[in-house]
């Protein structure tokens, strides 16, 4: 259910010459994903929608300290690390979204700072017969592609005040300090194997 809220907004990002509303972009993506899931579309199609929304590379590099630092920490296995993390996020999302069936999402508003925006949502669902809510914010950046077209992409998710980006950065930093990039990649591989086994 949480994953539904976190990653359930995949869609083809809005292409435009100037930044459109991040809220509208996110809402459009989310409804598109919900429609695909409802229509039992193929995994490839859903993945494509999600990949267009989530900036895996940016998330992976931010988890290692950002563009200026990450290369020192993951070299020479940076591409491998980024691919594994992207796969892990995607797998987690797909696993969760297929389990989700009764959640509702409210769009509370957005806060814009230059080319960044925070879209606030509230996810309501039932767990063990009790109604529960989660406040989830999506940190979206307006990025311009090589073709000169811009779009909103999600680069961080803040769940009830807990930043995914900060948590990744601390945890990965701790693993890198103790086990190095090999240890981190090994852990990501193990986790992906666990998910595959569970499926």
């Amino acid at each position: 259910m949480l994953a539904l809220a976190l990653f359930g907004a995949a869609s083809t990002a809005q292409a435009a010459d100037s930044p459109a509303s991040a809220l509208e972009a996110f809402k459009s993506s989310h409804q598109s994903v919900v429609g695909l899931v409802h229509d039992k579309a193929s995994s490839e199609k859903i993945e494509a929608e999600v990949d267009a929304l989530l900036d895996y590379q940016w998330i992976a590099r931010a988890a290692l300290g950002g563009e200026r630092r990450y290369a020192k920490k993951c070299d020479p296995r940076c591409p491998e690390y980024e691919a594994l993390l992207a796969q892990l996020i995607r797998e987690n999302y797909l696993k969760r979204i297929r389990q989700a069936d009764s959640g509702t999402v409210e769009y509370l508003g957005e806060e814009v700072r230059k080319d960044k925006a925070k879209v606030d949502t509230r996810v309501t669902f039932e767990k063990d017969g009790e109604k529960q809510t989660l406040e989830i914010s999506y940190v979206m950046h307006w990025v311009t592609g090589e073709d000169g077209k811009g779009q909103w992409v999600a680069r961080n998710i803040i769940t009830d005040g807990v930043s995914l980006s900060k948590t990744y950065r601390y945890e990965f930093g701790k693993i890198l300090r103790d086990e190095g990039i090999d240890g981190l990649i090994s852990r990501l591989q193990t986790k992906l194997a666990d998910i595959a086994k569970a499926d």
């Binding site: 590099r61 931010a62 988890a63 290692l64 300290g65 950002g66 563009e67 200026r68 630092r69 700072r113 230059k114 960044k116 925070k118 914010s137 940190v139 961080n156 803040i158 005040g161 807990v162 930043s163 980006s165 900060k166 948590t167 950065r169 601390y170 990965f172 930093g173 701790k174 300090r177």
Partner: protein, 532 residues
């Protein structure tokens, strides 16, 4: 009354923060939003008393500040003590009454009423011997036209009856009461002594309460001080962590390359939780402080400056006059000086005098009964010179006689004596029991005092050692080592030891106050800069 246990609960839950660079306490509350109904809504760390009569929060600068001795002096003038003093005065009046019981009481009565009209004539009756004999003929004014001894006759002559006046005075001058007056006086003397001891009891109880409230107030103040230091360190830690992991909820657009990747984001949550806990503890500490201060105001009474504060700013162990003695010495002191012990002895004496009084009640009272009186009726002939007339209208009398009064209700007196004897024996047993209980009081207070002294010394060392852990943690933190959990844990230890130390001093002073109360004399003396 504040108890030590309540303060243990107050701070026992855990103080989570370091102390090194405690922020200076704020001097005034921040301006509250307009919709804030009371200052209590603001942070407890910024609470300021709403005037000198509000005990909650930082005290105004212009209030009077009193030492313990001054507060005790005011408290000894409070209504409870004055009431006890007035009871002594009342009992002294009873004693004076008993002392003057030998003075005869003169009972007088006087009447003024309508009289009768009687006139008399001298009559010489010739009996044939030539000498005859004199006779006096008395009758109503109208020559016996009516009889004054009948109701009709009395009222018939009332218009001419004139006025009758009569005065009588009686008294008994005691010769001996066989001990009744003396025993009553002795009983009253013991009564005065008992009331004076009761007053002493009230005074000592008042002093004990003042000392306990005073110590509780200073303990609360120490706690407030500790919490302020803790808040300063938590705030500092929060600022540092925010700089390292970002400012929390409002830094969602922060650059991920900034900050320390080895700083756990949860550290920020931990210090924020610590700040909330400190806020709650601070409110509790301020409540305890306000209760203790209110108690001091109530004990000091209206004579004390309104809304006064205490001079001392820190809780210190009180000094013992002459050093700590042996328990046996304090027990002897208690028997000799404690009001309750002396009251028990006085009660035995009172019962003994009551028994003697019950014995003397079997015997009569002897005295000289003196009576005097005069009666005059202006319409009655006063020249009733013949012996065979009983003049009930105009007379003057004086008599003195040896008199005795003796009630022969010996069966009741026997029961009264049995009761008095039993009461005497009961009082003796109570005196013995009081001696034992006083000894127990002394022993308990003495034991608590010795234990608290040990704790004071122990925690003093513990504070020192736990502080070293804090310094060590900060040193590690300054070079990127350590973590918030370890730092907060060490700080918690240090603050707990600091509070334990303050609590031990409070327990020590409380035990000393109770020992003083148990032995009936003040043993403690305030120490430190504010001591007299």
């Amino acid at each position: 009354m504040l108890r030590a246990s309540s303060l243990c609960v107050l701070l026992g839950a855990g103080l989570l923060s370091p102390v090194v660079d405690a922020a200076p306490p704020p001097v005034a509350a921040p301006s509250a939003p307009e919709d804030t109904p009371t200052p209590r809504r603001a942070s407890a760390f910024d609470a300021v008393a709403d005037g000198r009569l509000d005990p909650y929060g930082r005290r105004p600068a212009d209030v009077s500040r009193l030492g313990l001795d001054q507060i005790v002096r005011y408290a000894l003038e409070n209504p409870a003590v004055k009431s006890a003093d007035e009871q002594v005065t009342a009992m002294r009046a009873q004693l004076r009454k008993a002392q003057f019981a030998w003075v005869p009481v003169i009972e007088t009565s006087a009447t003024l009423s309508p009289g009768v009209n009687i006139r008399c004539d001298d009559v010489n009756l010739d009996d044939g011997s030539g000498d005859g004999f004199d006779f006096q003929y008395c009758r109503s004014r109208d020559d016996n036209s009516f009889d004054v001894n009948t109701i009709d006759g009395y009222f018939a002559q009332l218009a001419d009856a004139g006025v009758r006046f009569e005065f009588r005075a009686d008294m008994v001058i005691p010769i001996t009461t066989f001990g009744k007056i003396r025993n009553t006086r002795k009983l009253a003397e013991v009564g005065v002594a008992l009331k004076e001891l009761e007053k002493g009891q009230v005074e000592q109880e008042t002093v004990l309460r003042v000392q306990q409230a005073y110590a509780a107030l200073l303990l609360a103040r120490d706690t407030v001080g500790i919490l302020r230091e803790a808040k300063g360190i938590v705030d500092k830690a929060q600022r540092r962590i925010e700089a390292e992991v970002g400012g929390g909820d409002d830094d969602w657009d922060a650059d991920p390359s900034e900050g320390d990747s080895l700083r756990d984001p949860d550290d920020l949550i931990k210090v924020k939780l610590a700040a909330i806990e400190l806020e709650q503890l601070m409110r509790q500490a301020l409540n305890v402080e306000s209760y203790a201060l209110s108690a001091l105001w109530a004990l000091a009474g209206d004579a004390a400056p309104p809304g006064f504060d205490v001079k001392a700013s820190k809780l210190r162990p009180m000094a013992i006059e002459g050093g700590l003695q042996r328990p046996a010495d304090y027990k002897q002191m208690a028997v000799a000086r404690r009001p309750e012990a002396r009251m028990a002895s006085a009660a035995v004496k009172a019962r003994e005098f009551q028994e003697k009084l019950a014995r003397s009640n079997f015997l009569p009272d002897l005295g000289i009964a003196v009576q005097t009186g005069i009666a005059r009726s202006n319409a009655v002939d006063q020249d009733m010179s013949q012996l065979y007339y009983q003049d009930g209208f105009n007379w003057t009398r004086f008599s003195a006689a040896l008199a005795m009064r003796w009630r022969w209700d010996f069966h009741f007196k026997t029961f009264d004596l049995q009761t008095a004897r039993a009461n005497t024996r009961a009082a003796m047993r109570q005196e013995e029991a009081a001696a034992l209980l006083l000894g127990l009081d002394v022993q308990q207070a003495y034991g608590d005092l010795v234990e608290a002294k040990h704790l004071v010394d122990t925690y003093d060392e513990a504070v020192d050692l736990s502080w070293r852990l804090v310094v060590s943690g900060q040193q590690k933190d300054s070079v990127g080592g350590g973590n918030a959990t370890e730092l907060l844990r060490n700080l918690e230890k240090w603050y707990k030891r600091r509070f334990d130390y303050a609590q031990a001093i409070f327990s020590y002073n409380d035990a000393l106050a109770r020992l003083s109360r148990a032995v009936g004399t003040q043993l403690g003396r305030e120490t430190g800069p504010t001591a007299p």
